[in-house]
């Protein structure tokens, strides 16, 4: 019963969020509105989200880790090439940071671009940023961005409202050497709990652990997100181990929103199969 209630509550919250389309403060007015969008993204998660909203062709500058291979690499958030950014004449600069960047603001202002900052840390952050980002793209002449956002949220809702069967504590690791976990308040924790699951880690953030910590925790299942061989000692921690190569769960972007719950359902299926001896 509890998983179903959690899912219903999440669905209601999502519907309200989607209807409101909450915008960050700096998105309220875009001087570059009306021009064809030329986007420089300093965040792989934001680039991926823009691409999923249909704006891939508008991305002209990116980090080395962004998809959108046709775009020029302009460095990273911490080490961006201002001259390269200025030469691209962007209309939108997207970044994830709480730190002001006066030099970037000057360059953006000189080319009539606006800087938009999001913080995609948790599921709610991505959900809340989806409609404002789609609105920016629509204003930049990218048709269907708002429809794409609605579609993404609908798929997210559909996937997340199906409760998981595993209701005993599950440990999610994104590294095994050393063991590093998705703790409370992370986006994987958000998704798993919204689907009615229980995270074995109640500690907030992404705690670094030791093998002894994991064995003492004795979760009902250990899920390792990523590739590479699993250490033998995991068998002492839990009889059920699931390994999943799911890039969608390694980055809080729109892809996590849509594909993350699907991956977690695959995890749930694998746990159920392992418990039943299959």
């Amino acid at each position: 019963m509890q998983p179903i209630l959690a899912s219903v509550a999440t669905a209601v919250a999502l519907a309200v969020t989607a209807a409101c389309g909450r915008a960050p403060a700096d998105v309220a007015r875009a001087p570059g509105a009306g021009k064809a969008a030329r986007i420089v993204s300093l965040s792989p998660a934001l680039t991926r989200t823009v691409c999923m909203l249909g704006g891939k062709s508008a991305v002209v500058g990116r980090t080395p880790w962004c998809e959108a291979p046709d775009a020029v690499v302009v460095g990273t958030l911490e080490d961006r090439n201002l001259e390269a950014i200025a030469a691209l004449r962007p209309t939108l600069v997207l970044r994830q940071s709480s730190v002001a960047d006066p030099a970037l603001e000057t360059v953006a202002a000189s080319s009539g671009a606006t800087i938009h900052t999001w913080h995609f840390d948790r599921v709610e952050d991505v959900r809340a940023g989806l409609y404002p980002l789609a609105r920016l793209l629509a204003e930049g002449g990218i048709p269907g961005a708002d429809v794409a956002a609605r579609d993404l949220l609908a798929r997210h809702l559909q996937a997340i409202t199906v409760p998981v069967r595993s209701i005993s504590p599950v440990l999610f690791l994104f590294s095994v050497d050393p063991p590093m976990a998705f703790g409370s308040g992370t986006y994987v924790d958000d998704l798993w709990r919204a689907m009615g699951g229980v995270n074995a880690i109640t500690k907030a953030g992404y705690p670094t652990m030791t093998a002894e910590d994991v064995i003492r925790l004795a979760p009902s299942a250990v899920v390792v997100i990523g590739r590479g061989p699993l250490p033998a000692w995991l068998g002492s921690a839990s009889p059920v181990q699931v390994q999943l190569d799911a890039p969608d769960l390694l980055e809080p972007s729109a892809r996590m929103l849509v594909d993350g719950p699907v991956s977690l359902h695959r995890v749930d299926d694998s746990i159920a199969a392992a418990r039943s001896g299959g």
């Binding site: 063991p179 500690k203 953030g205 002894e212 925790l217 590479g228 061989p229 390694l250």
Partner: protein
């Protein structure tokens, strides 16, 4: 009376190191913040035992290397880091990770991580030794400068390689770069590190009198019949191999190689016959104590990186020690 002091000091260093080992074996803080004291049984005890073995082997190798380098270079601030070996090992791992990424295969882990680390460490050491060779002998000053430069180049190479790695592959490299005691050490890497530590410590103790002579000026050393060139070369290579084995096993660890010789010198004196074994014991105890502290302190992110613990606590302790011993570190 004087000849008994080093033995008493050595016994004291050993006793303190044993305390650190006991603390690591018997006391742990769980993730929820409660302390557990006692032997946890065979399964969990195996992890603690392995951690102690790794810390002792790596700490001893670093401690012995530090003592020998400080003597040979006549520089109280010399340490394995000065040779650029750590940065070279880091570059080896970074480029191996990058090559794996470009080839679309899994990044090296565990024992495989040790191979590029060792290759990078030995390459850096080879470059430093070549750079510092003057008229057939190693020049101590050029050696330090060469180590700094090679270390800087290797660090820059690591940064470039890391920046080209996809985000999901950077975690492993970053984790290694902070220094760590692996939960399950690679047996080969552990054996190599232990052998290097024992070998270097034994060599340092056996050649203690020669090392004492090397601490004098070159002319003075020659006047008492000590051939500095071959001994320096052999010792530098021994220190480089021991440090590389440590880096391959644990990643780069700061301050142990610098601090352990000073701790030992304060207790056993400056004669290398006792100093080198004392520094090895002190290094083992320091690294084990740092790993124990790492288990007890949680600032919100779980277990602290080992390198951060050794840098913070080792740095403060070193400053205190420096004030006490600055007047006559070799007296």
């Amino acid at each position: 009376m004087m000849h008994r002091r080093p033995m008493v000091g050595l016994a004291l260093v050993a006793a303190v190191s044993c305390l650190a080992v006991a603390a690591r074996l018997l006391v742990v803080r769980t993730l929820d913040g409660s302390f557990l004291v006692g032997w946890p049984g065979p399964t969990l005890g195996q992890f603690r035992g392995d951690a102690v073995l790794v810390a002792c082997a790596a700490g001893a190798a670093l401690g012995a290397s530090g003592a020998i380098l400080q003597t040979l270079l006549r520089n109280p601030l010399a340490s394995p880091f000065v040779l650029g070996v750590t940065s070279g090992a880091g570059a080896g791992v970074a480029f191996a990770s990058l090559a794996a990424s470009m080839a679309g295969i899994a990044a090296p882990t565990g024992a495989a991580l040790g191979v590029p680390a060792l290759a990078g460490a030995l390459l850096a050491l080879g470059c430093v030794l070549l750079l510092s060779r003057r008229h057939g002998a190693l020049d101590p000053v050029t050696l330090i400068l060469g180590g700094v430069i090679v270390g800087a180049i290797a660090s820059a190479g690591s940064t470039v390689a890391e920046s080209l790695l996809p985000p999901e592959r950077r975690g492993l490299f970053n984790g290694w770069l902070f220094g760590r005691i692996p939960d399950v050490p690679d047996p080969g890497a552990l054996a190599a590190c232990a052998a290097a530590a024992l070998g270097l410590t034994g060599l340092g103790a056996a050649w203690g009198n020669r090392l004492d002579g090397a601490a004098l000026s070159d002319d003075e050393a020659r006047s008492i019949g000590i051939a500095l060139g071959p001994m320096r070369t052999a010792m530098f290579i021994g220190c480089g191999v021991a440090t590389a084995a440590t880096v391959a096993l644990c990643g780069p660890i700061a301050f142990v190689g610098l601090l352990a010789p000073h701790c030992a010198r304060a207790l056993v004196g400056a004669r290398n016959r006792m100093l080198v074994p004392g520094a090895a014991l002190a290094g083992a105890g320091l690294l084990t104590a740092a790993d124990a502290l790492r288990q007890w302190i949680d600032v919100g992110g779980g277990r602290l990186p080992l390198g951060a613990v050794t840098a913070v606590f080792g740095g403060v302790a070193f400053l205190v020690l420096l004030r006490r011993t600055a007047a006559g570190w070799m007296s």
